[in-house]
């Protein structure tokens, strides 16, 4: 059982990329150490053998010289031997381990001279010690390297893993729908911090989008509930009147019901239109539009409407530019701005519709929109706190925003002339820039 748990822990550990990296590094450093030591050992060994062999050759020459002068074989010093031999050993150098409890290594040089077969020997115990020292050194280096690598690896792994773990935990929360989660990785500004920043930014955008959708959904529900309630009340009244009081349903009763239904479908149609414009569809159908012609057309259509409401529409055209756009949508943009000015402006006011080059603007003399709310009124069906039930901004301004965006035009809301009212301006790009 414990074994299984240990194996599982090991598996988990191996799943961590930092641990795997550490193991790789340990393997690499171990291999380098072994290779370096092996090379050193081999070179030292070869050098020592050569020295011994040189000495043996020199002693052989000396022995031959002494024998040539009629002398006898020189006496061997400590750790050396010199004998006349007569056995099967081949000529040349040979290493030999003595038998016995304590193995001693000897190096022999056998040569046949005019004075007989001579064998010189030398005890190489000292070199063996040197080799042992080398081996011990190698072991210390290897163990040290591996230990140091493992420790450094573990340290880095722990640190990196803690940061990765933080990112991981944050993402897991986001995946579960907690969009207000922010990882906010502290410490060094490294690639992990950058990654975490990106994730945070994504989460923020998602959160905003979700919130906007929620607000929109409730706005839509609100916008539909009013005409639905009216429709229901209307039909119920007619039905009760007909059933209980034999009161005939009039043409007007049915017409009023139809009007409510039209208002409901109108809201849907506007929402779909908004969605379509926001999807960017229709840009390929753009044509060249003269802003002066557009404004003249709009004035002809909406001027009487503004007059009828007891307000007036003044048009001012200076250096009207030609832009690339969709005539129908641009008329709608202006229609919505005029409608907005009519609905939220002051009684008896003058609505100013202006064209200055590529800039188109509509301003009213109403109460305007507080700076803080300007961004929000562009959202679909937004209701300001000051606008009472049912009289929200509807879809008008969000359609304006969507149409402006489709035309890659800059939309800005500001105070009207002399700080009064609301001024909405749309700056189109040059015909050539699109």
């Amino acid at each position: 059982m414990a074994q299984v748990m240990f194996l599982n822990q090991l598996k988990e550990l191996m799943a961590l990329s930092t641990v795997r990296q550490t193991l790789w590094l340990m393997g690499l450093f171990g291999a380098i150490t072994l290779f370096a030591w092996g090379g050193t050992y081999w070179m030292v060994q070869r050098e020592m053998e050569r020295t011994v062999d040189d000495r043996l050759s020199l002693r052989m020459q000396e022995a031959i010289a002494v024998l040539g002068q009629g002398g006898s074989l020189p006496d061997p010093t400590d750790g050396q031997s010199v004998n006349f031999v007569n056995d099967e050993w081949p000529e040349g150098f040979r290493t030999f381990d003595s038998e016995g409890p304590r193995s001693i290594e000897f190096r022999y040089f056998t040569s046949t001279t005019p004075y007989g077969r001579i064998r010189l020997g030398e005890n190489t115990e000292r070199q063996e010690e040197l080799r042992d020292i080398l081996a011990a050194g190698m072991q210390i280096t290897l163990v040290g390297t591996l230990l140091a690598t493992a420790l450094a690896g573990l340290w880095m792994a722990r640190r990196g893993q803690a940061r990765l773990g933080q990112i991981n935990a944050g993402l897991a929360k986001i995946a579960q729908g907690q969009l207000d989660t922010r990882i906010a990785l502290e410490g060094r500004r490294d690639d992990l911090a950058l990654l975490s920043d990106r994730i945070d930014a994504t989460a923020e955008r998602l959160e905003q989008a979700m919130m906007q959708m929620r607000v929109q959904a409730s706005n839509i529900a609100h916008d539909l509930r009013t005409p639905m309630a009216r429709l229901r009340a209307q039909i119920e009244t007619d039905l009760v009147g007909l059933a209980e009081h034999k009161q005939a349903v009039t043409v007007d009763d049915l017409g009023a019901a139809l009007e409510q239904i039209d208002q409901i479908t109108g809201t849907f149609e506007a929402l779909l239109r908004l969605a379509r414009i926001e999807s960017g569809a229709g840009r390929e159908a753009f044509t060249t539009i003269d802003l002066a012609d557009l404004v003249a057309d709009v004035e002809e259509t909406f001027g009487p409407v503004v007059d009828e409401a007891g307000q007036s529409l003044t048009v001012e055209v200076v250096d009207a530019a030609q832009i690339s756009g969709d005539h129908d949508l641009l008329v709608q943009l202006l229609a919505n701005l005029i409608q907005n000015a009519l609905r939220h402006g002051a009684e008896g006011q003058t609505i100013l519709l202006g064209i200055h080059g590529q800039r188109l603007s509509v301003s009213d003399q109403g109460p305007g929109i507080p700076f803080a709310e300007r961004e929000r009124v562009l959202q679909p069906l937004y209701q300001t706190e000051s606008t009472r039930q049912g009289e929200g901004f509807g879809l008008g301004l969000s359609l304006v925003r969507a149409i402006a965006e489709l035309h890659r035009a800059d939309l800005s809301l500001s105070d009207g002339p002399r700080g009064r009212g609301l001024n909405v301006s749309v700056r189109f790009s040059n015909l050539t820039q699109l």
Binding site: G255, A256, G266, E269, R276, E300, P304, N336
Partner: protein, 225 residues
């Protein structure tokens, strides 16, 4: 006129069929795309009214197949208020008009009659149009009633022209917006109401009678004296 209606909705289908019959048309209604296609290939019709979503073969495919078979009878699509790109797709498939549900019946009827009249009749090409005591000169853009000249601005003139051609049928706001102002959207302001009120001020008030009757929730009817 002989009309082919492809509509499988259990309430909407009979409603359309009944309405068109009452308007004096011969109606063959189908609830299945394949049956409708078979009938359309073998009988002469004046207009096809096709729902987009029906069993076996949808309206779009039916009309595509008919156009491939060189059947040029005009077709009008009906579609649920859903995909806004449907309109383009429908017109590309060879449709001549498009109506989004829910729609006013008078609008469907008017659109069918407009389609059936194609290509333009001699009447439409005429330079003068007279209904009752009103005459408009389409070339000189001039309007007279009972011999007196009535000054109309271009939008009022176009509005009157649409009414003169309406044959006593109800004109919905949507239809008027499309035909007079070329607007395919609801401007939410009282554009139609205002211009009609102005037109009335010019062609009704001086003569002390009523030509344009408002039908609440439906639209307007032109009733010449």
């Amino acid at each position: 006129m002989r009309l082919l209606v492809l509509e499988d909705d259990a309430k909407l289908g009979p409603w359309i069929e009944k309405g068109l019959r009452e308007a004096g048309h011969v109606v063959d209604r189908f609830t299945d795309g394949k049956d409708a296609l078979m009938a359309a290939m073998s009988h002469p019709y004046d207009v096809f009214v096709l729902d987009r979503m029906v069993p076996s073969l949808d309206g779009l495919s039916v009309l595509k197949a008919l156009r491939q078979a060189k059947v040029t009878t005009p077709g009008i699509f009906l579609t649920a208020l859903g995909d806004v790109d449907d309109r383009v797709e429908g017109l590309r498939a060879g449709g001549d008009d498009y109506l989004v549900k829910p729609f006013a019946f008078s609008e469907l009827l008017a659109r069918i009659e407009v389609l059936a009249r194609r290509p333009a009749t001699a009447e439409e090409d005429a330079s003068e149009l007279t209904v009752g005591d009103i005459t408009i000169d389409l070339h000189k853009r001039r309007c007279t009633r009972q011999g007196q000249t009535v000054d109309l601005n271009p939008k009022e003139f176009r509005l009157l022209e649409v009414f003169l051609r309406s044959n006593g049928r109800v004109q919905t706001r949507t239809m008027l917006l499309e035909r007079v102002w070329d607007m395919n959207f609801d401007p939410t302001t009282s554009v139609v109401e205002t211009h009609i009120s102005r037109l009335r001020g010019k062609i009704e008030k001086p003569f002390g009678d009523t030509l344009i009757r408002t039908i609440r929730g439906a639209g307007y009817v032109f009733e010449p004296t």
